[in-house]
């Protein structure tokens, strides 16, 4: 996390972050768009994710399959992800053949075709993706909990969207969504790797500089009213195993409470890496919930996580119920541990431990250039790059008193949804 990064905004609004790293002959680029399920409404859920799929269907200049071939030919990787607040397209290639990613990303920012026949084929692919998710009890439970946790905010829908919406969305809906959100003023281009900044910037200007600015689209959304009372829901499905998900309304990433919640998460369910690209982490066997519930043989596993988001989202705890216990017993045991956090301040040494863990997780993600490029753009999607640079500093500002205060604000029953997944009786 050093200040060797160059930040430039082109006249058309494209934000560019460049970081030279000369440890391997590789360059990784990420084009981030501020559009995700946050920008959707009922009837059109899943549209951002589907647009992401269509972005691989080609343009006049680069027909479908052309880039798959060209990038694979040089041993590169490329793919995309859609999330709550953002959609990102990344590619990591050998440095000497890198220019094709600039050329293609600039091209598909404006020239994707959305051919009707391909839209229909991709509809069935997206439905298949969703059906694969539906095979997992964790997806079914999470979708129900997410839906109950918000009454109006689009965060109430899974990124992949509702099946009935995927069946109805039209080619024109997709194209309009694409035109609305895919333009330089709504994008960040982040690159790390084996290049020279000045000449790379010239190339970026030559590919992206002439693309029209586009309308500013990503304004504030009305926030959901607070949950007035604890919500309970049940989902049943196939299998012999029960699961519990407890989701608390959580602060947005830009709220200072986010960092305090990060320390709380580390304490309760173990540290989690915010990097979404598998940079490695540590286990959670010494977390309070693991110790009390898994070692106490009330659940057989537990994990939790906080997501860095633009608007307040959720802090979720997910547990697999021990076969000799019930979801209610799991909930009671979790509540005892929450009560411990609310009753007595944690120690400074527990905070110091969370900071050391966070530093180690960042170090693992710096091993690889793809991950370093990820960090350059990611935090712009919900705050600013400084959020990432100051992350450890913000964690070090957390005190036992602030943890107690934050826990008292957020970890209360009337701020949560409790979901049970139980096996369906034959």
């Amino acid at each position: 996390m050093t200040r060797s990064t160059q930040f430039i905004t082109l006249p058309n609004g494209l934000t560019v972050h460049l970081k030279e790293i000369h440890t391997a002959p590789i360059i990784s680029s990420w084009v981030w768009y501020k559009v995700g399920s946050r920008n959707e409404r009922r009837g059109k859920t899943g549209i951002s994710h589907w647009v992401e799929h269509m972005q691989f269907k080609g343009t006049e200049k680069f027909p479908a399959g052309y880039l798959d071939r060209e990038i694979s030919r040089v041993g590169g990787i490329w793919n995309a992800m859609t999330h709550l607040d953002w959609t990102t397209y990344y590619g990591t290639l050998p440095a000497h053949v890198f220019e094709i990613t600039l050329s293609s990303e600039a091209d598909r920012m404006v020239n994707s075709r959305f051919v009707p026949q391909e839209v229909d084929l991709e509809r069935s692919v997206v439905i298949s993706e969703r059906e694969g998710n539906e095979n997992q009890p964790s997806f079914l439970l999470a979708e129900a909990v997410q839906g109950a946790a918000f009454s109006t905010h689009p965060y109430r829908y899974e990124v992949i969207g509702l099946k009935e919406d995927i069946k109805k969305i039209t080619r024109d809906d997709l194209y309009q969504h694409y035109r609305q959100y895919y333009h330089p003023g709504n994008a960040v281009l982040a690159m790390a790797g084996d290049f020279e900044t000045a000449s790379m910037l010239d190339k970026i200007k030559s590919y992206f500089g002439d693309i029209p600015k586009g309308e500013k689209t990503n304004g504030a959304l009305p926030q959901d009213p607070p949950l007035k009372e604890e919500k309970h829901l049940s989902v049943s499905g196939p299998g012999q195993t029960s699961y519990v998900q407890i989701a608390y309304r959580a602060p947005s990433a830009s709220n200072h409470d986010f960092f305090t919640m990060t320390v709380l998460d580390s304490l309760l369910t173990g540290p989690s890496s915010l990097n979404m690209f598998g940079a490695g982490g540590t286990s959670n066997k010494t977390s309070r919930l693991y110790h009390a519930l898994v070692e106490g043989e009330i659940s057989v596993s537990c994990f939790g996580g906080l997501q860095a988001t633009k608007d307040p989202y959720l802090y979720s705890i997910f547990l697999t119920v021990h076969p000799a216990h019930t979801p209610d017993e799991v909930l009671q045991a979790v509540d005892q541990e929450i009560k411990r956090v609310l009753d007595a301040p944690i120690t400074q040494s527990e905070i110091n431990r969370a900071i050391k863990q966070a530093k180690a997780l960042f170090a693992y993600s710096s091993e690889n250039i793809t991950n370093q490029a990820f960090w350059l753009g990611y935090s712009e999607m919900f705050d600013h790059y400084d959020w990432f640079e100051n992350y450890i500093h913000h964690l070090s500002q957390v005190t036992p008193e602030s943890v107690l205060k934050t826990a008292q604000s957020y970890l209360t029953p009337n701020n949560r949804v409790v979901g049970f997944y139980t096996p369906k009786k034959d």
């Binding site: 694979s72 694969g132 196939p238 299998g239 596993s301």
Partner: protein, 428 residues
């Protein structure tokens, strides 16, 4: 050598000049390579203990033993052990396969000796406490109940039962509920005594540490370890290809999607057919958007989110699998389409363009595979495990370039016969 990466960055590839290899007096082979780009190290390795030693009645014993290594030692109980590891943001884990039990760790380089010391305790002096054993057994039974509901895992399990019928590889390392129930703590103790030992063990360290320091740390951690009764890994028998097509299906009610696995046996890693098959598999179901399978099943027919192929090779017989996840009403159509793709693949040579593309892919991807400490450590471990030689990466481009379209066709035909495919389906 068409790819300039190999010239300009020759020294970046693992080779005899930048790998240190040493065999300790107790039989442990140690390999290391320094990389000071980030302040971290990756530690990986394996021992010659695995499910091949399990009886049918207690299948899963090897798996539970590997998992039990971190439940307590002479010096640390479960919580104390993990407290040391997690407090420094490190990770240490063990797992069991058929022929080996593996360990995997990463940490900041300043914590290398701490983590190696703890790994050594777990490997050389585990005590398998009764309480933790019972908990672990329940966790395992729950994992198996979850597996029974997983269409991908169950179709893979069925596929192995077809292609490896009568062979040790037909058995899942995790066992079955009834075999896990039959295992007692004493079984872990005796399994550990019989199969864990330094002979044949490999330790690889890659990252921000000088070779001399890494060697010294490994010697301090493991050089005193002996096991005079360590058993040798059994000979792996041959497996016999199917003489006719065979299908197994498993109904998992209530699911939305079915998983299909089709395929055949494959040769072992050191087979002369290896590189031809590796390139062929890439064309069949990996390259770009999942190769020919992805093109036909996903892109053109819209039948599946994933349709790809996978070539698994190790010591003994391997497997060549073609996999797709589809809506249950599309199973027959997908099988027919995948069979057609396989038939075409084994009838005519791959095109010039396909051959050129796949060669370029295998040569071009090396910098990405080898940029992380973990990636290099896996490569060094494979070089040792399969006795590929320290010059493996230097000779690799020539081996790839030498493969012809006829090599791919002939090798593929040897193993993949569209009229004698194994097919496994798990779903609603």
């Amino acid at each position: 050598m068409k790819n300039p990466i190999y010239k300009a960055h020759r020294n970046a590839l693992p080779n005899p000049e930048n790998i240190t290899r040493k065999v300790l007096p107790n039989g442990i082979t140690f390999l290391t390579r320094s990389n000071f780009n980030s302040p971290t190290v990756s530690i990986k390795g394996y021992l010659h203990s695995g499910s091949i030693f399990d009886t049918d009645e207690k299948l899963g014993l090897s798996y539970l033993t590997a998992n039990g290594l971190m439940t307590g030692t002479n010096h640390h109980d479960f919580q104390a052990l993990y407290h040391e590891i997690e407090s420094v943001g490190a990770r240490l884990s063990f797992s069991a396969g058929t022929l080996t039990s593996s360990f995997n760790a990463h940490c900041l380089s300043e914590d290398l000796r701490l983590i190696l010391g703890l790994a050594s305790e777990c490997i050389c002096a585990p005590i398998f406490p009764e309480k933790e054993f019972n908990r672990q057994k329940t966790q395992m039974l729950t994992a198996l109940a979850i597996r029974a509901q997983d269409t991908a895992a169950m179709s893979a399990l069925l596929f192995d039962q077809i292609v490896y019928t009568g062979h040790p590889y037909e058995r899942p390392e995790e066992g079955f509920p009834e075999t896990i129930q039959a295992i007692q703590r004493e079984d872990l103790m005796s399994f550990y005594q019989q199969t864990f030992g330094p002979k044949g063990m490999v330790v690889v360290i890659v990252g921000a540490v000088e070779p001399e320091e890494a060697l010294s740390a490994v010697e301090d951690a493991f050089s005193d370890w002996r096991n005079p009764v360590q058993e040798k890994i059994p000979e792996i028998p041959l497996a016999h290809p199917l003489q006719s097509p065979k299908m197994k299906t498993l109904n998992i009610p209530g699911k939305t999607q079915a998983d299909i696995v089709m395929g055949s046996l494959a040769p072992e890693r050191l087979s002369p057919d290896y590189f031809a098959l590796r390139l062929g598999n890439n064309i069949l179901g990996e390259f770009g958007m999942m190769g020919r399978l992805g093109q036909h099943v996903r892109e053109e027919a819209g039948l599946a989110y994933y349709a790809y192929s996978s070539l698994s090779v190790s010591k003994g017989p391997g497997a060549w699998e073609m996999i797709a996840g589809v809506n249950p009403r599309n199973i027959d159509q997908t099988i027919a389409l995948m069979t057609k793709v396989i038939k075409n693949f084994t009838t005519a040579p791959v095109t010039k363009e396909e051959l050129s593309d796949t060669k370029s892919y295998f040569l071009g991807r090396m910098p990405l595979l080898l940029e992380s400490n973990s990636g290099v450590a896996i490569s060094l471990m494979n070089m040792e495990h399969f006795n590929l030689g320290m010059n493996y990466f230097l000779e690799y481009p020539q081996k790839i370039q030498a493969i012809t379209a006829q090599d791919i066709l002939q090798s593929s035909r040897k193993y993949l016969d569209p009229d004698r495919l194994a097919t496994a389906i798990a779903g609603p």
